[in-house]
């Protein structure tokens, strides 16, 4: 409104309502103008981009879904002139792609391993869920042993092998076997454990250290090792499945999970060694880490396949998969060590000094103060190195272990399914599987990173 006086003075005491902004600057149209066509270069880029999408996306959708063949028994189904993906081929080869040549009636065993893995992994990955210590103990210690027994069938006569090395009363009693377990060996084992504990405890007490503590540690080591040997030793009645029959996604996951489970503790040790004050230990760790990081994984696998058997006593001929696992574990331990070192370096000096001022010993300081903080910091890094480990597992196909990609490649040669689209179908399927695994992990890593990042964001 406004006031108008007699002398013609005009006073406006209220603002005029602003006009709406020009239509071309707001809303969808404005966004398009601002973001897509703001300049000549931008317009060209937009059009080129749309052309690229138009070139790739429709054929991809047509191939994967619209023109795809969904049912059929053999290659006849996928021989039409304009066919897309031949999904019956994947259906027919599915078992082989997941389990390799694992006996069909025994496939419940890998299934249990998969299920247990998921059940243990998911609570470990959700930061807010409780019982992390128990959970990681189950996943990192119990799960590998159980999986090993389930997948191979267990009943490996480890005791017989060990017997040659310590058989105190064997010569007097002979073998007494129940359920595949050699009772004599275990009596022997317990006696040896007690003797060893007494010896170590006595030695340390003599030197003025803590004798009981040392004896207890020795007993724990014997107990853990004994439990491991016993788990392998017991005959659960599972038929033995040799690793040559394993394959597909099973082998991919076995290698990836073994790599991570073995590399984490090894990597932590190496990282601590690299940060240590002791020159010789530090030098050894640096050489070890830099050596494995400097060579490609392929040469490591060649090393494990051809060179490792030469270094072991003649007669021991380790399994091909086991050799590859050793190579992968050493390789990924070196990378893990660098990730953990990053975490250790990120912990401020005050934490170390505070822990020392509290009178904690070095191992207490690391276990209770430094490592929990450092490891939480580097969870994204650990997940990232897990992703690259997962991608690297494909390399084992070069040393004739048939992982997922290896099985896929082998399935291309099946004359029953020889069609022009078989190859593309296989690549499409494997690509989707690999992508889902790696993309899922990278999203998780981003999620943790965001959770850890408490700083202000622009």
């Amino acid at each position: 409104m406004s006031l108008t006086f007699d002398d013609g003075t005009f006073i406006r005491n209220e603002m005029v309502q602003p006009l709406p902004p020009p239509r071309r600057q707001v809303g969808a149209l404005g966004w398009v103008r601002e973001n897509l066509f703001s300049s000549v270069l931008n317009t060209v880029l937009t059009l080129a981009g749309i052309a690229l999408v138009a070139l790739i996306l429709p054929p991809l959708v047509r191939f994967m879904i619209l023109d795809a063949v969904w049912t059929g028994e053999n290659r006849e189904a996928c021989l039409g002139p304009e066919v897309g993906a031949c999904w019956p081929f994947i259906k027919a080869k599915f078992g082989q792609l997941i389990y390799g040549f694992y006996p069909i009636d025994q496939r419940w065993r890998p299934n249990i391993v998969f299920a247990a893995g998921i059940l243990l992994m998911v609570p470990l990955l959700v930061p807010s869920w409780p019982l992390k210590r128990l959970n990681s103990f189950l996943f990192f210690v119990i799960y590998p042993v159980v999986s090993f027994v389930l997948l191979t069938g267990g009943n490996i006569d480890a005791s017989a092998f060990l017997f040659e090395h310590f058989g105190l009363i064997h010569s007097f009693v002979g073998d007494v076997t129940m359920a595949g377990v050699n009772a004599t060996f275990w009596v022997d084992y317990v006696l040896t454990a007690i003797a060893a504990a007494a010896f170590v405890g006595g030695l340390l007490a003599l030197l003025g250290g803590s004798g009981t503590g040392a004896a207890r540690t020795t007993l724990w080591v014997f107990l853990a090792f004994g439990a491991l040997v016993l788990a392998w030793d017991i005959d659960f009645g599972l038929p033995y499945v040799e690793t040559r029959q394993w394959g597909g996604l099973l082998v991919t996951l076995v290698i990836a999970v073994t790599g991570i489970v073995a590399s984490l503790p090894l990597g932590i040790l190496l990282a601590l060694g690299r940060r240590s004050q002791m020159p010789i230990v530090r030098l050894l760790c640096v050489v070890f880490i830099e050596f494995w990081r400097g060579v490609p994984l392929i040469t490591v696998l060649f090393f494990a396949t051809y060179m490792l058997p030469l270094f072991l006593p003649s007669g021991t001929n380790p399994d091909a998969l086991l050799r590859a696992l050793v190579g992968v574990a050493l390789f990924s331990a070196a990378y893990m060590a660098e990730v953990v070192r990053g975490g250790l370096q990120a912990i401020s000096k005050g934490q170390y000094e505070g822990a020392m001022a509290m009178g904690l010993t070095w191992s207490q300081m690391m276990r209770l103060i430094i490592l929990p903080q450092a490891l939480t910091l580097v969870i994204p890094g650990i997940v990232n190195s897990f992703i690259s480990l997962f991608k690297d597992t494909t390399l084992v196909l070069i040393v004739s272990i048939f992982d997922f990609l290896g099985q896929l490649r082998a399935s291309f040669t099946d004359p029953n399914w020889a069609t022009p689209v078989t190859l593309y179908t296989g690549f499409a399927f494997a690509g989707v599987v690999y992508f889902l695994f790696c993309f899922g992990m990278s999203r998780y890593s981003l999620f943790v990173e965001r959770r850890l990042n408490t700083s202000h964001r622009r």
Partner: protein, 396 residues
């Protein structure tokens, strides 16, 4: 402090094994003993095993006749050449893939990385999809894909894709014209070298002049003119000594020209695009690491967008980009060993593959192969560290 320690009451004597110095020395001695004993055991086992399997030792085998052919050789090689020669051929093939791959990966990576920060929605979307897809698929998968699904699906030589009658793409690889060096090539090469030196000197001089007078010279155009002009003059003077031999289809295959084998193409494309996805992420984070205040300050000084990017943002971003870029280059070099998966004759395929199978001398061959990669790693990081030192922030 020392005074205080001096007057401290005599401590109760504890056992020497609680002394940290004794412990550290003891631990190191134990570690050393373990390593030495393990090494000695390995050596002992290796000697016994080698003797039992009647495998020769030593590097004498490098002088023996190899007896196998290699389908891409950068230096003269035949089946009668030695294993040492085969090693060199493999090494050169590895270096070729690494160099070409690194150049391609850097170009694609920078384009995609800048694309991820573009204001243009379509460009940003395509760049993001590129990075996420390529980064999350195993490199060996991608190499096999390019080799089996793309290059093997190319038409046969008779129906090959013809680009201007000069380049032919078929399932036998890519055929390009072969350069023929006639009389006077040396002069042209000298001219090229001279032009290069002149360009560098002019760049220096122009920079110095700008420091003094504040005037910018058109360095880019002058240098382009130098680099193209001087060799061109030399070519005209010598009467165009460099000519090209065109490939021609004769019967079922091509005659003349240079054949780039499909294994090389597949490996290079796969490695370059894969590594480019990682480089793109490094570039993006590097540019984002430069504080926004720098852009604002540059704008308020009156610099235009392009100048801001070229003179303010990129020099600072390079500091952040260089270290991860180095490790990406190293990764590409190491990943080139995946060549063995498709049969490209690189170092691993030729040496650790065929030669190892023929001679059985695993220890020597794998040690040499690993040594080569270690040396390549060290050289790359040395070069990159020198560069890094030059661009690093000078802290006072």
């Amino acid at each position: 402090m020392s005074d205080l320690a001096h007057h401290a009451p005599a401590r109760e004597k504890t056992s020497f094994i609680n002394d940290p110095r004794v412990r550290s020395i003891g631990l190191q001695i134990i570690a050393l003993i373990v390593v030495v004993v393990l090494g000695w055991m390995f050596a002992q086992n290796a000697r016994e095993n080698l003797a039992a399997q009647k495998i020769a030792t030593g590097f004498g085998f490098l002088d023996n006749t190899a007896g196998f052919g290699i389908n891409q050789t950068l230096i003269p090689y035949s089946e009668t050449s030695t294993y040492g020669r085969a090693f060199l051929v493999g090494l050169l093939n590895t270096i070729l893939v690494a160099v070409v791959g690194i150049i391609l990966a850097t170009i694609i990576g920078f384009l995609v990385g800048i694309g991820r920060l573009s204001k243009n929605f379509v460009v940003r979307l395509i760049s993001t999809v590129y990075v996420e897809v390529l980064r999350n698929l195993p490199p060996l998968f991608q190499i096999l894909f390019w080799y089996l699904a793309v290059l093997s699906a190319m038409p046969n030589p008779r129906q090959s894709i013809n680009i201007l009658d000069e380049v032919f793409i078929s399932n036998r690889g890519i055929i390009v014209p072969r350069p023929l060096f006639g009389e006077g090539t040396g002069l042209v090469l000298w001219a090229l070298g001279l032009a290069f030196v002149a360009a560098v000197l002019f760049g220096h001089w122009a920079a110095g002049r700008q420091e003094e007078t504040g005037r910018r010279l058109p360095v880019l155009w002058v240098n382009l003119a130098l680099l193209i002009g001087i060799p061109l003059v030399a070519m005209i003077v010598t009467g165009f000594p460099i000519s090209f031999e065109r490939p021609e289809l004769k019967g079922f295959n091509f005659v003349g020209g240079v054949r780039v084998i499909p294994e090389f193409v597949a490996l290079t494309i796969a490695l370059a695009t894969y590594t480019a996805a990682f480089i793109a992420e490094n570039v993006r984070s590097g540019i984002q690491a430069v504080s926004h205040g720098q852009t604002e300050a540059a704008h308020s000084l009156g610099l235009r967008n392009g100048q801001t990017l070229r003179l303010v943002i990129i020099p600072q971003a390079m500091r952040v980009i260089i270290p991860p870029l180095t490790s990406q280059y190293l990764n590409l070099t190491k990943n080139s060993s995946l060549a063995v998966g498709i049969g490209y004759p690189d170092l691993v395929a030729v040496f650790a593959g065929t030669t190892l199978n023929q001679t059985g001398q695993a220890i020597e061959i794998i040690a040499i192969t690993m040594g080569v990669y270690l040396v390549l790693s060290i050289i790359t990081s040395l070069i990159m560290n020198t560069y890094n030192k030059r661009v690093a922030l000078v802290e006072r």
